[in-house]
Symmetry: C2
Subunit: 360 residues, 2 copies
């Protein structure tokens, strides 16, 4: 198809305290399959107040998963899936409560519960054969747009690539700004900048259009209120806005495409395990020539919030490492095409990409 | 529930020429029910170029419906439904190609094909018992937000009220800005102002929130580019933006509420058959005290495009007519509550509402 046809989140609740409506929201779904839900919760909340407000029933399975050491892997999903099916059979649904990684795990797990074999078989576009079970996303950190995207990004033995199809998209998302109040300031910054970079990249390329521009412009405007203007900072009012900005930034890139920063970021994360939002920031600080306006504003925001990004990383990398990173990035042609136009292959060569990595 | 939980359009395609993808889009659905589609097309296109590009198959039913004389009625829907079912049985789906009224007909028909009895039985919230058949909206005029809303507004013998439930929402919307190029300038203005007024009313009231404000702010910003700033006018670039503004304005009011203008507009339309978008403009010109900023900008746009709105309408109305109009408006308490807060009953009395109608 010439024009993309995108699946929306089925239903969205927005508002302070809306997480408390989870019980009623999932009640009708509990009659499906084996009548229980799987909760996938960021381990950050283990023992914290939120863990007592999950609204899980005795029959539900609750997993606290630590996504700090590395991003979600195909192995994690396969193991979880096998364990859950062996223990209790097919659940009514999966509830993800956490950040982008937890959203990805909930989406991928809901698909792999009904599709046989390893998740590595399904990394790519429309490779999934059967509809997922019902799945809900409850973001507790905002910015990645994972709550709205049709991809569940997984790192496999060979590639970092999403399970991407209509069934990946959440059946329900609950956006409760109270849940992002406790995000540590550095991650509040990195994840918000993921949204910011989504919009800059969505705008700066051949695939932008009035739809992606409208969503991106509004998300950028919200980012400026949250991170740059008077009143910027981690306030309740700004948290209200950040949840909307994340959603809109995600929709902007969905109807357009990301660009150079994301292509490089995938290479950095795949080889070094660097977390996605942080990787984007580490890279974007060096892209003044490619995204001049966005870079200038990003630099102001970095300064305003005293964010200290690592420098000189590339000094520790040998040529083989550069090769590996560049290979991952090179193999994302749709991003380079969007950023540089139809003659992108002449620009985004392996050497060019390796030189970009040398800036880090 | 404290916080609204809204159903999105399942899938959205956006872009110039995207209507030509209708064939592929509905192909998988043709295996449902009696393997044919019902096309509901604005009679405006009968004999015009678009009527040769509908992509209908021999087995499909195509209805050209004239929505100019009055807004969609419960009787129209019931008659259509009975005729279609008698002739060919349950269709695979319904495709609405036109403006807000055609969107409402397509949505209502898709629901009434599977729900027995008159559509008057289902005017209200969540009264529909069974899921609709698949239905697609293809707007050819933008502004009402009917393409995104969960209501199919019908005028019945007793009330003007929507069939409102999750199943009302379109399964697919195709937003092709080429289709709105031929809209007559006066209707281009009235329908766009519907979006504008949605946002002003959504913002000005107790139910606004960061979500409705973000959508409304962006829709207002687009409206200014389309109707007010340098470059305003019926251009391809502005048509691209208007389709997005209509969608975003619809989402703004969905997560908040409309207000005084819409409450009055329903009264005017119910009693006099005035078309919705036009009725809003006729009323909004007299609401300077209630929406001062929005009114000032609206007046500039009226002036810029030499729009001539009728004056002195109320001179022809007797007291009984004022009573009837005010009764319709009075019975929309959620709109008055949003606009005036919790003591709205003290403000929006029958006398107050009649006095507002006397301004027309």
């Amino acid at each position: 198809m010439l024009h993309k046809n995108f699946k929306n989140i089925d239903k969205v609740t927005y508002g302070r305290g809306s997480f408390s409506q989870l019980t009623e929201t999932i009640e009708p779904i509990r009659k499906e399959n084996k009548n229980y839900f799987v909760f996938i919760v960021d381990n950050y909340f283990n023992g914290k107040p939120l863990s007592t407000k999950l609204q899980n029933k005795a029959e539900d399975l609750v997993y606290f998963i630590d996504v700090d050491p590395y991003e979600p892997t195909t192995e994690l999903i396969d193991t979880l899936r096998d364990e859950i099916l062996a223990q209790k059979g097919l659940p009514s649904g999966v509830i993800g409560i956490g950040g982008g990684s937890i959203m990805d795990i909930a989406k991928a797990l809901s698909l792999m519960l009904t599709n046989e074999g390893s998740s590595t078989l399904y990394q790519g576009l429309n490779l999934i054969k059967k509809p997922s079970v019902y799945h809900i996303g409850v973001p507790t950190i905002s910015g990645t747009g994972a709550e709205v995207s049709m991809t569940a990004v997984l790192t496999g033995p060979e590639k970092k690539l999403g399970l991407k199809c209509d069934w990946t998209v959440f059946n329900q998302v609950i956006l409760d700004p109270e849940l992002i109040a406790s995000v540590p300031t550095d991650w509040w910054f990195y994840t918000g900048m993921d949204t910011y970079i989504h919009c800059i990249e969505s705008h700066s390329g051949i695939r932008n259009n009035a739809f992606s521009l409208a969503y991106g412009d509004q998300a950028l405007s919200l980012c400026r209120e949250i991170y740059l203007n008077d009143g910027a900072g981690q306030t309740p009012e700004n948290n209200d806005k950040l949840m909307v900005a994340s959603l809109m930034g995600g929709l902007s890139l969905t109807y357009s495409e990301v660009g150079v920063c994301h292509a490089l970021s995938y290479g950095l994360s795949k080889i070094h395990g660097t977390r996605h939002c942080f990787a984007n920031c580490v890279i974007f600080q060096h892209l003044a020539d490619i995204y001049p306006k966005g870079h200038a504003e990003f630099s102001q925001m970095i300064k305003k919030h005293n964010i200290d990004l690592p420098q000189g990383l590339s000094k520790q990398w040998d040529e083989d490492t550069f090769d590996k990173m560049a290979t991952v990035s090179y193999n994302l042609p749709f991003m380079w095409n969007h950023a540089f136009g139809d003659n992108y292959k002449e620009i985004a060569t392996m050497d060019y990409i390796k030189d970009l990595f040398r800036r880090l």
